[in-house]
Symmetry: D2
Amino acid sequence: MSKTIVYKQKVEFGDCDPARIVWFPNYFRWIDAASRNFFVQCGVPPWHETEKTLGVLGTPIVDTHARFINTASYGDVLDIHVTITEWRTKSFVTQYQIRRGGDLIMECDEVRIFAAHRAAVGDPQPGIRAVPIPPSIRSLCE
Amino acid sequence: MSKTIVYKQKVEFGDCDPARIVWFPNYFRWIDAASRNFFVQCGVPPWHETEKTLGVLGTPIVDTHARFINTASYGDVLDIHVTITEWRTKSFVTQYQIRRGGDLIMECDEVRIFAAHRAAVGDPQPGIRAVPIPPSIRSLCE
Amino acid sequence: MSKTIVYKQKVEFGDCDPARIVWFPNYFRWIDAASRNFFVQCGVPPWHETEKTLGVLGTPIVDTHARFINTASYGDVLDIHVTITEWRTKSFVTQYQIRRGGDLIMECDEVRIFAAHRAAVGDPQPGIRAVPIPPSIRSLCE
Amino acid sequence: MSKTIVYKQKVEFGDCDPARIVWFPNYFRWIDAASRNFFVQCGVPPWHETEKTLGVLGTPIVDTHARFINTASYGDVLDIHVTITEWRTKSFVTQYQIRRGGDLIMECDEVRIFAAHRAAVGDPQPGIRAVPIPPSIRSLCE
């Protein structure tokens, strides 16, 4: 069984659009916050510390796939359930389920990497590169 | 050949995060603007008019899948290439390619519906329901 | 003594800019949420109810004056202290103090009105107009 | 006569709130972009260059005072007129007028400083300090 950490998010008036529902880019703002909160709650040190100890700067996103199932509006309190569902060699998959009580609002599968400063030339992303999953971080999050 | 409409977006300082790159939820803000711009440029009347003529309120998102290929930062000017790649019975697929000159920054496939006010009970999304693609809109966008 | 209601706000990575501090427009997002929270905590019914009972649609902003005293960054937890410091005939002044523990981060004085649908021609703001402060709302907030 | 630089901003659906008007924090997002654009258009080098030549990192905000005169909504194209109206010893005042055609939507007076890394202890803002206005920058902007 993988760890699941829940991040609470209240929907405010300004998060909603003229259709009176959450404007969808805001779900990704909250998912990014829930992703960081997951590592913090699992006991992973802040990235400015892991930069010194492991060379790890953070976890940039490389792929996301989201399904919008129900709408939410202001006044709603959302629970964002976060689990890492797969560990690959140099990336990992996080699943998010955004719920309002028993209703599933949005579901998202996201691939991120652990990034370090780029040492060599020819890397795909300018400035950073993916590093193998640090075992010390993985063991805290499983 | 499907129509492709390009939406230009300048990246501002405030669109970037402490890693000095575009914070990824901002790509979805721009994609939403590029989606509306596509219909406007194709000659589709504003939704407040189609609401009266066709009952169509807008095009809510139901699914999105994005790949983040390169990073962008402030000062960059991005071209968002928008094409509708598939017409289904009650939904359609839009492809977005965000480019900076020759570099592909982000790529996204998105499913949206044409929404009308919900008439009957038992519809999945509260308040709105998917309607069949209006042929008059489709012919303008192909 | 006026009522003071405190709204808590955690600063997330995406709220910060390439200078690694809160990008200032975000303070106004939080102030807007803290303003609504003030009325809710004071027991004022939601605006969709006051629209029916009092004709009041909400409290649009007409003037704001903010001083930025210290910077904040991600991981910080901010307390937004909210008080209505002045009741005028058709507007009211709210004072916000954003604190991190003992440090004052930002201070803001804001003028808002109670808005109703515009009945007569010649009103300054299209669609809405300021109405006299409803005594039932004022007595809950003092 | 001071220089005035105009920054164009289109209002998108997602910039508007459930009242169907621009959610006011967005005006500050656009003002921040218009402020940077002013310096660029005046020929001031990017801050990463002035950091090396003059020690100047950027222009953090210390005070803003805004008046909201008319509402705007999606589809509107706004012109943000930017002028530096006052040069003080260690700060400067910028005036913004946001117009839609002949209508004044919002007006804002803002105080910013030129910031350098803090050298000495006891400075008010952590990490940065105000430096005297660089004459080479002032002469480009007047």
